[in-house]
Symmetry: C2
Subunit: 589 residues, 2 copies
């Protein structure tokens, strides 16, 4: 267990040489398309995170460029994403009131902390920590997050004042205010929602029917949110909807991203540590899976340690330029890839486009209805909700199903942090439980061969004075005693027994606890007049056993093959086997 720290690299030094001719054109086009697509998303996710809308734009400029310079993926697009924005709202909401200056400072501190954690994890090659988010836990968490985000937008879609930190509270809050629903807001919100669903489900087919190429139809149908913004903003301005009670984004100061300082309150940092860690890991997992999927399509590869450093830099960048936690997003990266991006130049152009928007477009957002943004969020996050995974997981594995349901339900009822931590704890506990009850088969000789099989499933030869046990698991503390128990049982039940042989072909490791158990078993067998033998011990396991005292005192011997053990300890069986003609059997157990 020795780590070498990773040296951060600058992948830009590789791909800058490819920047010429068609690749340059491809990247420029993709960058512009992504910029147009993510402006509405960035505004919407900032509101979801409890921040002013421009924070979403700022978080898509410097962080995107920093990732572009350092990331190992060619096409990943980094910025605010739905789940991380929800987690930000949950974490920051513990310490500050949304839409206040202090809230923004805490969000910056969260981004800085998360950025530092990601960078350190990358430099120390600790990316494997993310592996402990099992797929069922991620599935349950992402589905629950999608439902929570959609529920949190209901109040904006309907124009009522309501709060709540979990699904029942949010739904109850909105239903309690049912009589205060603002009909104009509801019309804009639900209208946009219906329009976006229609675009998503129909427009692509219609455009292809009109003769567009699949790629162009696909990209155009992703501009639905932009169209919704343009139309509802224009209508709100033309008909003075604000005067009739519709909430809009309002005044956004145009200008460069500000230089901001996160909160340096160390007590606050301590309390933000767990949420920052969870945000880092969830963000990293989302980002690296998107990155790997897209890289594989072009036989490129993504280096997880380098990704950690690059995402860390992006988040540190967000902390100092008025942003909030960011990561590589699924939809924006897929659009970037589909639009033909070849290198991270596309992301740099995206960032430039968004910068341009913050300089000149922000006055146009004055009349943008918040209900429109809420509808955009709802349509975006409903793709996160995956109920079929429940039945698929149930069919495949009950323990995984349990971990999924626990994560899903606890996230909905008790929030994102409790849900995630409970899910991880549950998966680890279930894994330990499974490996602590190893499959131990008593095996016997298949007549006419040198192969051994489970006596319960096959017609095999055994001798009353020798038992052969095959353990289908590495031996470690949690299952060492199960093996002691099994051997104690076997010995107590078979009075004629003289030899116990452990076939070790499936044992990849024996830890110190299991070694002591083997020593205890050996001692007890010797006290009772029996011998313990081992067979088919793997090379690395044998190397370690030779550094212990077990082999010096072992009552029996270590055999290279199990058949050799049989030849020595029960030659009458080996003879019987040889008497019959050999037959072909596959070497699997």
């Amino acid at each position: 267990m020795s780590w070498k720290p990773a040296l951060p690299r600058l992948p830009i030094l590789q791909w800058r040489r490819e920047l010429k001719g068609q690749a340059l054109v491809d990247d420029a086009l993709a960058g512009v398309i992504v910029a147009v697509m993510i402006i509405p998303q960035s505004l919407a996710y900032a509101l979801l995170a409890g921040l002013p809308p421009q924070a979403g734009l700022y978080a898509s400029i410097v962080p995107t460029v920093l990732y572009a310079l350092m990331g190992s993926s060619r096409v990943l697009a980094v910025g605010p994403v739905a789940v991380v924005s929800l987690m930000t709202a949950a974490a920051v909401g513990e310490f500050a009131q949304a839409h206040t200056a202090h809230y923004a400072e805490v969000a910056l501190a969260l981004a800085l902390l998360s950025g530092l954690m990601l960078t350190v994890m990358g430099l120390l090659r600790l990316g494997f920590i993310a592996n402990f988010l099992s797929h069922p836990v991620i599935s349950g968490f992402v589905t629950a997050s999608g439902l929570l985000i959609a529920a949190s937008q209901l109040k904006t879609l309907l124009g009522v004042q309501a709060g709540g930190h979990n699904l029942p509270e949010m739904l109850a809050g909105v239903f309690a205010k049912w009589d205060q629903v603002q009909s104009l807001t509801m019309a804009v919100g639900l209208g946009t929602l219906l329009f976006l669903f229609a675009v998503r489900s129909r427009l692509k087919l219609t455009l292809r029917g009109l003769g567009l190429s699949p790629r162009a139809a696909d990209l155009l149908s992703k501009l639905g949110p932009v169209a919704a913004i343009v139309v509802t903003t224009a209508a709100a301005a033309a008909f003075d909807w604000q005067g009739q009670g519709l909430k809009t984004v309002g005044h956004i100061p145009p200008g460069l991203p500000p230089f901001t300082l996160p909160s340096w309150d160390l007590a606050l940092w301590g309390e933000l540590a767990l949420p920052a860690l969870l945000i880092s890991i969830v963000g990293f997992v989302e980002s690296v899976s998107v990155g790997q999927s897209l890289a594989a399509k072009r036989r490129q590869r993504v280096d997880p340690d380098q990704e950690l450093v690059a995402l860390g830099a992006a988040n540190i960048g967000a902390a100092f330029t008025g942003g909030f936690p960011v990561t590589g997003g699924f939809s924006r990266s897929v659009v970037n890839f589909d639009a033909g991006a070849r290198t991270q130049l596309a992301s740099v152009i995206t960032a430039a486009g968004i910068l341009l928007a913050t300089l000149v477009l922000t006055p146009a957002l004055l009349h943008l209805p918040q209900a429109t943004l809420a509808a955009i969020i709802v349509v975006a996050v409903l793709t996160l909700v995956d109920f079929p995974i429940l039945s698929r997981t149930w069919r495949y594995s009950r323990p995984d199903f349990l971990a999924l349901v626990v994560t899903l339900v606890l996230t909905l009822l008790l929030g994102v942090e409790v849900g995630l931590v409970a899910g991880v704890t549950m998966s680890v506990a279930l894994y330990l439980l499974r490996t602590s009850q190893p499959h131990i088969a008593e095996v016997g000789l298949v007549p006419g061969t040198e192969h051994f099989r489970n006596v319960r499933r096959h017609q095999v030869l055994t001798a009353p004075h020798m038992v052969s046990l095959r353990v289908d698991e590495s031996l470690y503390f949690a299952n060492a005693r199960a093996i002691e128990d099994r051997i104690n049982d076997t010995v107590a039940r078979q009075p004629a027994l003289r030899h116990v042989v452990l076939q070790c072909s499936a044992i990849n490791d024996i830890d110190a606890s299991a070694l002591e158990s083997l020593e205890a078993i050996d001692g007890r067998l010797r006290d009772a007049g029996l011998c313990l033998h081992l067979s088919e011990v793997k090379g690395p396991v044998m190397d370690r056993l030779e550094r212990s005292d077990l082999l010096k005192h072992l009552s029996g011997r270590v055999f290279l093959t199990h058949y050799q053990a049989l030849q020595q300890l029960a030659p009458e069986l080996a003879g019987a086997a040889l008497a019959e003609p050999p037959s072909q059997t596959p070497p699997t157990a």
Copy 2:
């Protein structure tokens, strides 16, 4: 993962039939010997636990009988033991002042809670929970406990007032009061200590030199503590040492164990839950390992679930009869076994002997010096201290060594509960870390055979368009991504590659996360124009894969043997192999 609850049995119904003739005599003799030996220990451990000395006697009567009726071990002797007494003092000391009525009530509540936990664990067959105390953690914990106990007795041996909850505090407390050392107390304490060490190291040999049988010499030498008590008590009474400042046990009310009610304060129960769980598990582990060692010598067996129920009953009994947490003790059980006990009748006779002592002997303890008891404790617990285990574990396994040292150091510095919890967390984390970095070997065909070996260690045949990877670990969430990374790497490095074959002979399980990883790998390989194949999938793993979608969409095939995969995918290698004469190779990998 389905449990059947265990039905509690009464093993007495089996062994009562054996109670006749010589067995009856053997049991009676062993019972008397154990009673004499454990009276001093029981008094001493009660003081160690912060309770009045008679609590130790009470804890050796009803609990011992309850275990005798229900326990599955024939010779285990149950009562107060050193480590559990230390843990009791640590837990109860959080909530009450030692030697007060409230303290005793909290100790009873702890015994009751621990008894209920043990019983429930036994009925629900949850004994495997104890497996998570790995051997290195137990070793580190027991050694640290021995040192802590010995240090805690220094003040009594020297007659000073001092406190402290960890090793540095205890030592500093005593050294700070060095000028207040009571010379008479020190003389009695250190004198007893020297006497006991001499008895332990010399008496047995001397007695054997005088012609006694080894067994008799051994048993007699174990009566050292009784002799020390008789002599120092008589001297204290004769020379009025109490008048000169020596602290003695004092007045113990003679009589039956009282009927006591534990504290029913539910808030207190909540706070005692963790210590009670730790005490239950540590006690169970100590008890069951002693029980199993002794049972094996006579080819009997101990049923862990029944042991949990019996120890639970013993602790519940202790809670209602003025005792404190108890478990099966190492030294008393070994004495019982060596003295020839055949059945638990011996323990019943031991309990009767101690009952007799509480009725008639207690006045004789009025003058028993506390320093004598402290010396008895110190000599008893120094056998717990095992430093050679440090170097043995270092040689065998670095991660296990780390877990041992962490437990040892944290127990000494931060107390028994922190030490144990940190040790368990550490072992689990190190195990997960190890399995999350599985050994993955690229294998090739051994010429002239159908066997495959690691390409780095053997001269084997490979083809540029096919790679064979053998994963030496079950696939689960923590290592699923490592395998993705490895395959992504391999594919990115070998441009001619067309087929990836996973040899699954060492894979005992594939969880839902690993399944999704395999699906992701398969999808990426297909996108890049490659195929993923599996070979030598174990039966139970194949059964589950058939319930998933992986096999329906798999870009490649599933081969029964890896050689068949080679025959299909790289027939030129299989031909080359057949061209050479077959040679014998052992079937291990």
